[in-house]
Symmetry: C2
C-alpha cells in the first residue's frame, strides 16, 4: 500500500525558488575577478538564474546537455548553478588548477556544449579552445565591454550580454528527480580523471543533511564564506544548503591569500567558513604577526586532508573559533562525516576532547559506513582496529560517468581508498590512504600520524611522510619537510621530537629538507610526485 502524500520531485530549482520567496533580500557578496566587491541578493540571483535558463533554451540545449564552468566562487557562478541544473542541463564544474591539456581532455570527455569562464582563465581558453571539439559556445563571465575583441575564440560572448537580454520570468521544468544535475571529475592522482554525475535527488538530500546541527549547522542567521571552491565538488554543497536555509553567502573569488580572506570575514560578518587546511594556514600566518582577531567568526569546517592538531588548537585557544573536522570525497557529493561532539563528551577535559576532535567524525544520517580487512570481513568499531573504509548512501556514486573504470562498488559499497578506524561512538578516523600507508616489517605505519607530529613542531611549515624501500623491513618511513621562513631546525632535532609521541619503530629513519612539497589541484600533497622526485634517494645506512 502506498502513502497518500503529494508527489513532488526533489529538484534544484525549488531551492532557488524557496530562497527568492522567503529570503529575497538575503545577501550574496562576491569579491570579483575585477577586484571590487559586488553585492546582490537571493531574489536577484533567482531572476538572473531564470535568464540563464532562457539563454540556454535559446541555444536549444537539450535536457542533460553539459554546460561547463571554469570559474572562482562568485555570484555569476552561483547563477549558473541554478540556471543550468534547474533547467535540466548538467553543470560541469572544471577545476582550473588542472593543467590545460587535462582541462581539454575533461571537456571532451564530458562532451560540454557550452563553457563559461572567468576572465582570469582566458589564457587557458586561448590555449585549449581548438582542442575542445564539442564546445559550441564560449561565455566569458564579464560585462560586454570587457569582452576581448581579438581572442580568436569562435562564438565568444560575454555572460552579461548573453543572459542579460533574456526575460526574467521562466517556469522551471518538472522532471524525474534522478535526472543528472551536475558533474565533477575527481583529481585522480593516477590515470585520467573520472566523473561523478550527481542527481537532483542526491543534491537535495545532501543539502538537507549537510545543514543539520551536527554537520555544518547552517541557518538563516549565518554568513558563510565558502573558501572551498565551487569548481570542486560544488563547494561542499554550500551553495545549495545556503539556498535551502536563506543564509548569506560571501564569495572570495580568486583571492585566497590570508589578508584578502581575513578582510572579507571581518567586513561581511562571516560566522562560518569552510576550506582546506592550507588556506587556513595562510590565514593564521597573516593574522599572527599583526595580532589580529575575529569579531564574528564562530566555526570553520576543515576538510580535504587531515588537519594538524596545532591548527585546531590555535583556532580555538587563540581565536575562539570552533574547528570541525570533516571528511568527504568527490564520489560522496562530498560530505560523509563531520566531527561534532556528543553530549557525553561535553564534560571531558580539553585534552580528551581533542582526541575526539582529531578524528574525521561521525557518519551523517544517509551515509552508512564500515571498515573491512583484506578479505572483506567487517572489522570491530573499537577505535583501534583499522580497515579499508567502505560507504554507501543516496549521495554516493554507483559508477563513474560513462562507466569509466568499470563498477567501483563492492557488494553495493563504495571503497573510499582510505584506511580508517571507527570507535564505539561511531567516530571514524582516517589513518592513511591505502596507497600511502607504510608497511614496515608486517606492521602498518600511518603516514598521517607521522606528519601530524612534525606539523606540531614550531619550525615546520609542511611535512610529508613517505615509505622508502628497505631490504629487511620492506619499507621504512622518511619525513620530507618544508621549514617555516627563517626557522632553523636540524634532522636530529626533528627526529628527537618524536620521542614519547610514537612507538620507536614508527619514527622516521631520516628527514629530508626541501623548498616545496608538490600540491595537487585541490591543495593536497602529491605524494606520488614526491616519491618520483626522491626516486634516487637512499636511506642512511
Amino acid at each position: 500500500m502506498l502513502g497518500l502524500m503529494q508527489d513532488q520531485p526533489l529538484l534544484i530549482s525549488s531551492l532557488i525558488e524557496f530562497a527568492e520567496k522567503h529570503h529575497g533580500d538575503g545577501e550574496i557578496v562576491s569579491r570579483r575577478v575585477e577586484g571590487d566587491i559586488h553585492r546582490t541578493d537571493w531574489a536577484t540571483v533567482a531572476k538572473r538564474s531564470r535568464q540563464v535558463a532562457r539563454a540556454l533554451d535559446a541555444w536549444s540545449l537539450a535536457h542533460g546537455d553539459r554546460v561547463a564552468t571554469l570559474a572562482w566562487n562568485g555570484y555569476r557562478h552561483l547563477e549558473l548553478y541554478f540556471g543550468v541544473s534547474g533547467s535540466g542541463r548538467v553543470l560541469h564544474t572544471i577545476n582550473p588548477r588542472l593543467i590545460p591539456e587535462q582541462i581539454a581532455w575533461i571537456a571532451n570527455h564530458a562532451e560540454d556544449q557550452v563553457l563559461c569562464f572567468d576572465m582570469t582563465f582566458l589564457p587557458i581558453i586561448e590555449k585549449i579552445h581548438a582542442q575542445c571539439h564539442t564546445v559550441r559556445h564560449w561565455v566569458a563571465l564579464c560585462e560586454a565591454e570587457a569582452l576581448p575583441k581579438d581572442a580568436g575564440i569562435p562564438n565568444l560572448v560575454s555572460y552579461e550580454a548573453w543572459m542579460g537580454s533574456q526575460p526574467q520570468t521562466y517556469d522551471w521544468p518538472v522532471f524525474d528527480e534522478n535526472s543528472a544535475s551536475s558533474l565533477c571529475y575527481t583529481s585522480g592522482t593516477t590515470g585520467n580523471p573520472k566523473g561523478a554525475l550527481y542527481s537532483h535527488r542526491s543534491t537535495i538530500l545532501h543539502a538537507y543533511a549537510s545543514a543539520l546541527p551536527d554537520v555544518m549547522a547552517i541557518s538563516a542567521r549565518d554568513s558563510i564564506l565558502p573558501v572551498v571552491p565551487m569548481f570542486h565538488v560544488n563547494a561542499w554543497g554550500i551553495p545549495y544548503s545556503a539556498a535551502l536555509t536563506g543564509a548569506k553567502l560571501v564569495f572570495p573569488g580568486g583571492q585566497l591569500d590570508g589578508q584578502s580572506v581575513y578582510e572579507l570575514i571581518e567586513a561581511e560578518g562571516v560566522t562560518f567558513a569552510a576550506g582546506v587546511p592550507t588556506v587556513w594556514q595562510m590565514l593564521l600566518t597573516h593574522m599572527l604577526p599583526k595580532g589580529l582577531k575575529f569579531s564574528t567568526l564562530q566555526r570553520t569546517v576543515i576538510g580535504g586532508s587531515a588537519c594538524p592538531p596545532a591548527m585546531i588548537d590555535a583556532f580555538r585557544d587563540d581565536y575562539g573559533v570552533d574547528v570541525l573536522h570533516a571528511w568527504g570525497m568527490t564520489e560522496l557529493s562530498p560530505l560523509g562525516t563531520l566531527c561534532t561532539l556528543k553530549n557525553k563528551h561535553l564534560k571531558l577535559p580539553a585534552e580528551q576532547q581533542m582526541k575526539i576532535r582529531l578524528k574525521q567524525g561521525r557518519a551523517i544520517y544517509g551515509i552508512d559506513m564500515k571498515i573491512v580487512n583484506d578479505q572483506g570481513q567487517p572489522q570491530p568499531h573499537d577505535g583501534q582496529t583499522y580497515g579499508d573504509l567502505l560507504v554507501r548512501g543516496p549521495w554516493v556514486i554507483r559508477e563513474y560517468f560513462k562507466g569509466e573504470g568499470g563498477s567501483p562498488l563492492q557488494d553495493g559499497w563504495f571503497p573510499t581508498g582510505d584506511v580508517a578506524t571507527i570507535d564505539a561512538d561511531g567516530f571514524m578516523q582516517i589513518t592513511d590512504r591505502t596507497k600511502d600507508v607504510i608497511k614496515s616489517g608486517g606492521e602498518w605505519i600511518s603516514s598521517i600520524d607521522v606528519e601530524n607530529i612534525a606539523m606540531a613542531h614550531p619550525s615546520v611549515a609542511m611535512a610529508a611522510c613517505i615509505g622508502v624501500f628497505h631490504p629487511k623491513w620492506d619499507e621504512r618511513p622518511v619525513l620530507v619537510v618544508v621549514k617555516k621562513p627563517d626557522a632553523a631546525v636540524s634532522r636530529d632535532e626533528l627526529l628527537a621530537f618524536y620521542e614519547g609521541k610514537i612507538a620507536k619503530w614508527q619514527v622516521p629513519d631520516d628527514v629530508i629538507f626541501v623548498d616545496a612539497i608538490p600540491l595537487g589541484a585541490t591543495g593536497k600533497m602529491q605524494k606520488n610526485r614526491l616519491r618520483e622526485q626522491l626516486h634516487d634517494y637512499k636511506l642512511p645506512a
Copy 2:
C-alpha cells in the same frame, strides 16, 4: 540523462539502524504507566524493534496491514514506531482522548489487524473490543505478569511475552519509499475523522527538515522531552528526527501535570521540549509559586494553537528559555513553519523581536505556501493582507485515507482552513481559522487577537472569543473567560483592558465567565461546543 548515484529508498528502518550503529548507548528514558522511570538505549530499542517485526511476521501480517496503538509516549511505543513501519506495516496511532465510540469507529475504518494499548486504556478496550471487527490480536503493553486474567478480550497477549520470545536479528525489508508508513486521523471538529496516510519518503524528508537549525535544531547533544503525544501526528516527528541525530529521548508517559514534567526536565537534563500551550501553562503554574528554575532547558517549541505572548515573555524573561512558535497540521506530518529569527532581526529591540516571535514563522524548505482571497487570487506578502493559507510539498497529503471527503486539493495546493498573513520576510501569521473569524459589518475580526489580549490579563486563565449573531452587524465578538483560581476581575475591567490595544469596533461586546472551556483531544479549545453551550445567550442591548 539520469545521475549515477546509488539508488537507496528512504526507509524508516534506516533511521533505527543508524541510531543503533552510531548512537547505541544514546539514552531513552520513560516514565512508565507503572509509575517508575525506565531506562534503555537506542541499541536496545533497535533490537526490540526487530523482535516486534518478527512477531508481526509470525502473525502473518501483510505489507501495508495496519497495527494500531493506543499509548502514551514511552519506549515500547517507540519500538512499535520502528518495528511496525520498518517491517512494511502501517503504524496507526489512535488518540485515546477521543470518546470510545470514535476510537472503535476509527479502528474499523482503518481496518486495524492488531491493537496495542497501554494498561491505562484497558477500560476503553474492554468497552470497545467487541465493536472492532477487524482486530485479530490485542496486545497489552506490559509484562506477562501484569496481563489481566479475566478481561474478556479475545486473543489478548502481553507485549513482553509476545515480542520478547522472538530472535533479535532481522533483515529489514527493502521496498518502495512511497509505501505507507503510518496513519493518523485528524480530530475533525465536524464530521468523522479523516486519516492522513504518511509514507516512508515523506517521513524521512520531514525528519531531515525538522532537525534543521532553523526548525527544531536537533543534535546528538540534545535531551528531548516530547510532551506532544506520540498518538498525535507522531509527536511532531520527534521520534524520527531523534533517531536521525542520535539525540536522547525523555518520555513523560501519561503524567503531564506541571510537577511531573518539571521533575523529568531537571532529572534528565532536558535541553529541548515540545508541546501545546496548555501543557506549558500547567508547568509554569507549578513553578511560579515555588520559585523553581530550569538548569538545562534551552528551548521549547510551542504549537498546536497560538501561543499567548505572556507565556513567551515568561519563558524568556523569567526562565531563560527560548520559545519558538511552530505551526503545522496532521495533514502536514505536521510541521509547516517555525519561527526562528533571521540575522537582520538579531539587533532589533526586544519588543520588535517579540512582534516577529508571535508569528507562526517561516516556511521550512520543502513546504511552499501562499495566501489567496475568496477568488483564489494570491495575496501580497506584506504582513497586512490576509487570505486563506494554502500549502504544498512532499510531506503534505494529496488526499485522505480511502479517499474520504474527495480530493482536498485546489490546483495541487492543500487548503489549511487557516486565515493568515505572510510578511516580506516570509513570516506567516495565523489570524484565525476560516470558521472562527468573526465577520462584523463586512470587516473581519480575528478571534485569536482578541483572546491573546485577554490572556495577557493577570486574572485570566483561559479565554475564547466567539461570534454571536447581531441583527445589524451580522456578528459581534463575545469573550468567554475562565478566571485563575482566587482571581477576581469584572466584565468592565476586562473590557477596559482592551483600550488602546485594539480598534474600538473590535472590542468584544460582552464577557461571559465560565468554570471551564471545553478542550478537544489535542488540547485545543472546542469553539463549536462553546457555541452550542451559548446557544441561548443574547447580546446585551
